[in-house]
Amino acid sequence: MNVGLFIPCYVDQFYPGVAIATLQLLEKFGCRVTYPPGQTCCGQPMANSGYEHLSDSCSTLFVKNFSSFDYIVCPSGSCTLHIKDHLNDDASAANAGNIRKRIYELSEFMTDILKVEKLSACFPFKVGLHQSCHGQRGLYISQMSELVAEPFSKPGRLLQMVDGLELVSLGRSDECCGFGGTFCVAEEAVSVKMGKDRVDDHLKNKVEVITGADMSCLMHMEGILKRQKSTVRVMHIAEILTQW
């Protein structure tokens, strides 16, 4: 199958390793992957700040870049959700609608479309999984603790397939880390406090690595860990699943 790789702008610029790992994973499971070079951003930074109307040109660009694929895959739940919920392009409404239906976050794509049951990865560490809100409550890649419903977690299940990996359970399984786009600077005090509390939960449970399906949340927590001079690392889930 033809997969268009959508790499969010901040991953492109700061975490190329995450993008490379995503590409390797998809190829390993038999996808023909293309990275359309003209891509930039999904437009979420503007839209979540109240400037959805400024994100139109990003949307047009997105549609142009990603119309020709069977699937579009992205290593970020938040950017995926934004496209799913808000991608519109007056000039090619049908294409935009198609993309909204065919875009997947990496772990849900591996679970639902590639139907991955086995991995040959090995990562002998204690790992804490951060459930990023947009992936979880928006894309439903994990069950939400608020609902009276059967628990499941797509990224969690993938991590369980990794040899040696010990998935640690946390005090609060799915509390927000406080990144929230512009929230992280506009509401600095609360944002940092939320991040510190999330990090503390992982530290209290003695994790060695914090992982997740959204690099933005991880970047925020990494910023806090670094400032605290902690030795705990953050890694995107794709980087762990490619430890083969």
Partner: protein, 453 residues
């Protein structure tokens, strides 16, 4: 400027207190979880509640007329108030006509919204709030910080001190049991001596013309049943079609609010006591305007359980007063801009849009989606800072031009220049308590061009 940012920054100066506030409310959220897992049909119940409320809102005109007719037949006096001022005037007129200067009041978020206490105080009326938490904040001359737990921001030592000052309890005694007992004696005297009781309303039923008040303390009942005049104040959105629908709402309300299976008292008021006057004040105050906004009318389904506050990771760490509105938290943030866009333009931004609120909401209000939509409205109406607009325009301009984006130089640099929250300078709040990743040698785009094409 006083806004959510500055108020929560102040709140966060005392980290120990933030931890305590957060944990206390998280504990309530956990009690809620435990209670709702007792009910296998919980999610279906939420659906039903949401649909019943939608039916009520979409037929509100007829239901209000039906309610009025039945309430009149039951012997109630029905008043209509277009806004807070008219509501306050109606209440005052009843008091003035009966020459009453001292009254008791049980919990009503509507009267908070209308600033009734303040208004009556200026008219020389002495109002005693009888809900323990509300009495505490009243003594402290503060506003409630939570719609269900009004003094959740106060430590027991502070309450002990207040009671020592106002109720003559021994200095230094901060035992909740002891303080509650003192308040019981203090307030019982008020119930016994005051002739007028104001209460809120949790649900009003069109079919029967009755209304229901839910409390744990029994203060609404003590006030109402001992009064010569009972004035019940309600927003028009409190209406539900039929009595049997109470089964759905009473199952949801207390479990969502505090994790109790039901409030201690669910009192159904149909007719006044012999010789008693029973007034009901139906208040609009912006509700019809909200009803006319398709994106936001769902907010009128709210049954004021407070669950969205208890679960909100921002509310727990910023405190109820940081919302500078009678109703705090996520629901307050979508209700307040309807009352005054300029004054409350900050509130829809006081959220990470994590969505937990919408998931706990017993009537399934799409709270976080409304926060997102309010942001768009407020921006379009010009209620966001000019500097932010300018920065967003620059960002949008570059992000839609791949060439500019790609050739901006070394990886990370473009980013540091253009994404407002990562701009690399010492004025950027990101760096106050966080580090940034070091920019890598090359971006993924560069790597891909070298290795894959």
């Amino acid at each position: 400027m006083v806004n959510h940012v500055s108020l929560s920054e102040t709140f966060n100066k005392d980290e120990e207190r933030v931890n305590w506030h957060d944990e206390t409310l998280w504990w309530v959220r956990q009690k809620r979880d435990k209670a709702v897992w007792q009910i296998p049909e919980w999610e279906e119940l939420r659906d039903m509640a949401s649909q019943i409320k939608m039916n009520a809102l979409s037929n509100l005109h007829d239901y209000l007329l039906q309610f009025e007719k039945n309430a009149l037949a039951n012997g109630m006096v029905v008043h209509w108030a277009a806004d807070a001022d008219e509501h306050n005037d109606i209440v005052y007129d009843i008091l003035a006509k009966n020459k009453v200067e001292r009254i008791v009041k049980s919990k009503s978020m509507l009267t908070e919204e209308c600033h009734l206490n303040h208004f009556l105080a200026k008219k020389g009326i002495d109002v005693i709030d009888t809900d323990l938490g509300e009495r505490i904040v009243q003594l402290a001359e503060e506003a409630p910080s939570h719609i269900v737990l009004p003094c959740i921001h106060k430590k027991k030592e502070e309450i002990g001190e207040l009671f020592h000052r106002f109720l003559n309890t021994p200095e230094g005694n901060a035992d909740p049991q002891f303080l509650t007992a003192a308040a019981r004696i203090h307030l019982r005297e008020k119930f016994m001596t005051r002739r007028v009781a104001i209460t809120g309303v949790n649900f009003a039923i069109a079919e029967t013309g009755e209304f229901v008040i839910c409390t744990n303390e029994g203060n609404a009942d003590m006030g109402a049943h001992l009064s010569d005049i009972h004035i019940a104040c309600m927003g028009i959105e409190k209406l539900i079609p039929q009595r049997e629908h109470l089964s759905v709402f009473l199952r949801l309300l207390a479990r969502s609010a505090t994790g109790q299976p039901v409030t201690t008292y669910s009192s159904h008021f149909v007719r006044p006591l012999p010789g008693q006057e029973l007034h009901i004040v139906l208040v609009d105050n912006g509700r019809t305007r909200q009803l006319g906004r398709p994106d936001f009318r769902n907010s009128l389904k709210c049954i004021r359980c407070g669950a969205c506050m208890n679960t909100c990771p921002v509310y727990r760490r910023s405190g109820g007063h940081s919302y500078h509105n009678a109703i705090a938290g996520p629901i307050g943030a979508i209700l307040a801009p309807n009352l005054d866009m300029k004054e409350y333009a900050d509130l829809p931004f006081a959220s990470t849009l994590c969505g937990s609120c919408s998931n706990v909401c017993p009537v399934k209000i799409d709270i976080h989606q409304q926060l997102y939509k309010w942001r768009q409205v407020l921006t379009k109406e010009g209620h966001t800072p000019a500097a932010k607009t300018a920065a967003m325009k620059v960002m949008a301009g570059t992000l839609s031009r791949p060439a500019v984006y790609r050739f901006a130089g070394k990886a990370g640099r473009w980013f540091m220049r253009n994404i407002p929250w990562l701009t690399n300078n010492r004025f950027n709040p990101w760096y106050k308590q966080r580090d940034m990743p070091a920019p890598p040698k090359e971006s993924f785009g560069d790597w891909y061009r070298k290795n894959k094409r």
